[in-house]
Structures are given as structure tokens and as C-alpha cells.
Symmetry: C2
Subunit: 349 residues, 2 copies
């Protein structure tokens, strides 16, 4: 039996974040938006000509690219689309990190960066954040095979100003610098404007957080046309039709509804500031967040014990059993009512 076993790839099974099915659970563990997507998305879904699903989706994705081009003042050929920003980032790693030098990223950051490096055989080096969990820009000025910065960083939520991002890009003209902006809309300024000034920056964003569309799996990269061409060539060489027809029209509708988008982000920012203040009264220290989540600790409360207590109260937050951050909880910003329930539960504890 299993005679084929030595020919197949062995991988440590990944344990995905909890996706409980019950509706009475307060789910603050995966940084989803607590509000529904733009009402325009429902309209395009209801009006879609379903018979067209028999056809392959457009590879060019002109409608969605045009909406994003308008939003970010870039050209359509400076945009690359993918099946969620995870796919976009994985393809960026495969396309741009093709040297023998180590790719640099922080020791505490999005957990898939080192996974993709291992998958594609890319050498990498984790650079420690400083004692206040900040990225030290000078650490990324030396020789490297590429740089990846999540900005705001996860799970810290800490944002690095555009000037510092530009210094890192400018110091690495012979490498590609990827700025992963999954959470940029909750208080930061996007580096998208830098793609016309530097040909070595790739800015990656997603519809999963600020656009409230985690369910449609759409992410995108913005960069110099030559970098986008290289990405498209790699993608098309093995999977041409990554973005399905419905996700294309839904994402386009959401991208064009700027007013609704701004309102969502403002609500989340305001609830975040309220939550941080409430938690401070309960003795919590929260890192300065520019994201739709906070990273918080309390020197009198064990983080893991609190995590488990909240779980029993049907409130799910995120706990990382990792060095340096094992006394922190990452809490997604939900609605005001959800955050009131959270702080009330902590108060009882």
C-alpha cells in the first residue's frame, strides 16, 4: 500500500482560523468587515445575465481594472488582478524573488510570507521588529533579494508613514519591494502614488477588508507596467482564468461606490478608537492601530486564559502562541454593539 508515497509532496497540514457556523457568535478573529458590502453589489448580482456563466470569464477584466484605475489614478495596464490577495502575493513572490539573495521581512508579520518562500525555494531572513513592535526602516537598506512590508503591519496594526516607505523603496532600486496594504484604508496613506516614481515597488491590496467582500476573493497589485507584464506572463503560463465572472462585476460595483466605502471605513475607525479607550480603562495596553483590528495586552491578565474565556462567551478573537506576542490578543473591530459586548464580557472577567 501507498507505494506512491515517496513521489508525493509532504506538507504540514495548515489549521485554518475558526469559521464557526452559528449565527449567535461574535466573530472578531479574521478581520472581516462587520458591515455588508455596498448595496451596488447586490444590484449587479440581481441583474446579472446568468446565462453568460456558460462562457469563460474575460481575461482582460477591463471593467474592474478601469474602476481601480479611476480610484487610484493609475493606468489599467499598471494593475494585476488575482483570486484574493493571497494569490496575488504568492504570484509576486514567484515572479519577483528569483535570486540567491535573501528576501527580507519582519519577524512578526503576515504568516504566509515565509510559507511562500519555502514553497518556491526563496531564501529569506526575518528582521526583528524593535521593542515597541515597530519596523526599523534602516534594517531594509542592505543587500537583499527583495523586501516585503505589510503596512499597516499585522498583527500589530502599526502603520509606517509614506516617507519611510519611500526611503525603503529608494534604497532598493535593484530589488522589488512589495508593500502589502490589506489594511491601508483604516488610517494610512497608500503607496500607490509611488508606482509612477519608482519601477521597483509593488503595492498589493484586497477587497476582503475595507470593501467588505472577503467572500468574492479578489485582490490586486499596482506597479510599473513592466512588473505587471511579468506577473501576467507568469500567471497566464499556468492558469489563465483565475477571476470568475461574478467576482469581477461585484468587485467593480464596490470599487465604484466610493461614498459607501468611506462611510464604512470611518465607522470602523471610530469604533476602533472607542474600543481602545474602553480597554485602556480596563488596564489594557493597545498598540497604535491603523487597521480594522487592534493588538492588545494586559499585564494583569493572561492572554490565553482571556482568549479561552471569551470563547466560552461566544466571542472569538485571535490568539497567537508565538514568541514575543504570546501575551497579546488580536481583536477585529466589529460593530459598536459587538465591541460593547466584548468590553462587557472582559469587565465580567
Amino acid at each position: 500500500m501507498e507505494l506512491w508515497r515517496d513521489k508525493i509532496r509532504k506538507t504540514e497540514p495548515y489549521i485554518p482560523g475558526e469559521q464557526p457556523e452559528g449565527r449567535n457568535i461574535i466573530k472578531l478573529n479574521t478581520n472581516e468587515c462587520p458591515y455588508p458590502p455596498s448595496p451596488m453589489t447586490e444590484r449587479v448580482i440581481r441583474e446579472y445575465s446568468c446565462g453568460d456563466l456558460r462562457l469563460y470569464p474575460s481575461i482582460l477584466c477591463r471593467g474592474l481594472k478601469s474602476a481601480l484605475a479611476d480610484t487610484y489614478s493609475v493606468e489599467e495596464n499598471e494593475i494585476f488582478l488575482g483570486n484574493g490577495s493571497d494569490e496575488v502575493l504568492a504570484l509576486c513572490f514567484m515572479t519577483f524573488f528569483n535570486s540567491d539573495k535573501a528576501v527580507l521581512f519582519p519577524d512578526i508579520t503576515y504568516s504566509f510570507y515565509d510559507v511562500w518562500c519555502q514553497l518556491y525555494g526563496i531564501p529569506f531572513k526575518r528582521i526583528p521588529l524593535d521593542d515597541s513592535f515597530r519596523i526599523v526602516k534602516e534594517d531594509y537598506f542592505g543587500e537583499n533579494g527583495g523586501v516585503v512590508i505589510a503596512n499597516p503591519n499585522a498583527p500589530t496594526g502599526i502603520y509606517m508613514g509614506l516617507e519611510s516607505i519611500e526611503e525603503i523603496v529608494s534604497a532598493n532600486r535593484d530589488s522589488i519591494v512589495i508593500i502589502d496594504e490589506a489594511y491601508i484604508d483604516f488610517g494610512g496613506i497608500s503607496a500607490a502614488e509611488l508606482i509612477h516614481k519608482y519601477d521597483n515597488i509593488v503595492v498589493v491590496q484586497t477587497f476582503s477588508k475595507s470593501r467588505a467582500l472577503a467572500g468574492i476573493r479578489v485582490g490586486y497589485a499596482m506597479a510599473d507596467k513592466r512588473l505587471i507584464d511579468a506577473l501576467e506572463a507568469v500567471k497566464n503560463s499556468f492558469n489563465s482564468y483565475t477571476l470568475n465572472s461574478l467576482s469581477q462585476i461585484v468587485a467593480e460595483a464596490a470599487a465604484r461606490d466610493t461614498q459607501y466605502f468611506r462611510k464604512c471605513c470611518e465607522n470602523i475607525i471610530s469604533t476602533r478608537e472607542w474600543t481602545i479607550a474602553e480597554l485602556e480603562r480596563l488596564g489594557f495596553d493597545t498598540l497604535p492601530s491603523s487597521a480594522n483590528f487592534i493588538f492588545t495586552t494586559n499585564k494583569n491578565i493572561d492572554a490565553k486564559a482571556l482568549f479561552e474565556y471569551l470563547r466560552e462567551q461566544n466571542i472569538i478573537v485571535r490568539y497567537f502562541n508565538k514568541p514575543r506576542i504570546e501575551q497579546y490578543l488580536r481583536i477585529t473591530i466589529g460593530t459598536k454593539e459587538q465591541m460593547e459586548a466584548l468590553t462587557a464580557a472582559i469587565r465580567r472577567y
Copy 2:
């Protein structure tokens, strides 16, 4: 400029099949279904609770897996889902072809097999079809790193009987044999039943052809649970949420509408047989097809010239400028009216 150039991956840009936008074009070049998908798909799209798009899709995809399990008399944990069968196949190559021995597939077959081998550094060997474009099963009995058979094969449309498939699987108990059944529903018998008898067979199918849902990008693999676990582990290690929420419910609705599905396939088979007979009257030799396309030649007509003539008549078929098949055209079976227009145009030529 382009100081980063030596660090990025260079790929020959792929030229995708034509996707003309005009509605008055008869599109017989990408093997799409000429009929709309099941009416049940429209119903689930209209009734979908769009606010749920804010949430990540289910990773487990229980609804869709359950519908497929019922259809093929397999267990849910014997099914792997992906973003189109291209993604499923690419992940199968990555997971199962992990040895130093050559993977075997026909010289004339689906054009992505060698692309994926090159992408993942998998050694491979193309085995010539015989003079009548048939796969010779004995060619796949020797030592190898794995086997891939498209059944029916593309672009020939020729089907290999289940007994021959079983002989190949049985002769390769220490390798994985992938049977790519994109076109199986147009006249063949699926090898899905073999997954309970052999632990080294992987059967791959798609919603893009017989289910008329190329636009939603859903493909799947059926195999022994241990092989499915290995696939899931590789996939989840770098992209957990490949299948968006809408595609999941649409595919489930289509999978459950067996009656509509059978009717579509019967119509296409009947139109195919009519087309083959008509073309025979016009002097064409058509390979015996069990697919939703035919592969045909005429010793008195240059295939490329006919392809270009049809193009001018707004009828797009597929021409491959490749050795052995440069005098053939691959023609997707459309509606009866479309095939009448095709044969009328050829008659004029």
C-alpha cells in the same frame, strides 16, 4: 533602469484563445457549452443573501462537496475543489509528481501539462499517439514518475475505454495516475468508480463544459482520501480560500440538477453526430469524438486557409500550428443552428 531585472522570473507571454466581444460571432473555439447553465443556478444567485459576502467563504465547501459526493457515489473527503480544473491539475502536478523520474503524457494532448512540469521542475516525457491519434496503453506501463491521461483526449476527442484506463492504473501502483475528464460527460464512462479500488488514481473534472459554467471557475478531483488530504495540505499551505462563496452555491445548484445536465449533454451529442455526418458529405474525415468538440480534416482543403475563411465569416474555430495536426481544425459543438451556419459556410467555401 530595470536594475531589478535579473531577480525576476522571465516567462514567454502566453497568447490566450480569442474571446471576441461581439454578439454576432459564432464562437466554436473554446469548448464552452452553447446552452445556459441549469435554471437552478439563476435561482440561487437571485436568492443569495449578498450581505454574507463580507465573510470569508467556507473552506470546507460542505454543500458543494455533498452534491458531488451524491452524484459520483463517493465520500466528501474523497473530493478536492479548486478555482477551475486548471488550478486543480496544477496542484495535482505539484503534489503528486515529486520524484526524479519522468512523468508521462501523450505528445498530442492538453497543452498545459508540459507547462506545469516546466514550472515545477518536473521531468516529463511526451509519448507519441499512434498513427490514428490513439493512446497506446502499453506505452504507460514502464517506470515513470506519474502518468497523465486526458480522457477523452484533447484536441482529438478520442475516448479510451474504462478497462484500458484500469490497466494503466493497475500497472502503476507506485505512481499516481491522473485522469483528466474535462470532456467525459459527452459519451464516456468516468473512472471515478476506480478510486475505491485503487489508491493511485486521481480523477479530475470541471464545471466549465457539461455543466455550462466556465464563468464560475470550479474544478474538482476525486481520489483516495489520503491523496485528497495531501492535496488539501499543499493548497492550504499557501492559499486557503480559493473558492469564492458565489461559485460554491452556483456549482452546487448545477450539480444537483441532474435532469437538465443530462438533457444538455444529449443535445450536444446529437448535434455532434449530425455535424460529423454533414462534414463527411463535404469530404471531411473526423476523428471519432466523445467530447463536445470534433477534430476534423479534409484532404482537399488547407486547414489554415479554411480557419481564416471562417474567421472572416464570423465563425471562430481552433487551429493548432503544430506538427502532425496542422491539417486539422478543432470545432466546438454549438447549437444546431450554429452548426448549420458552419456547414453552410464551408459549403460556400
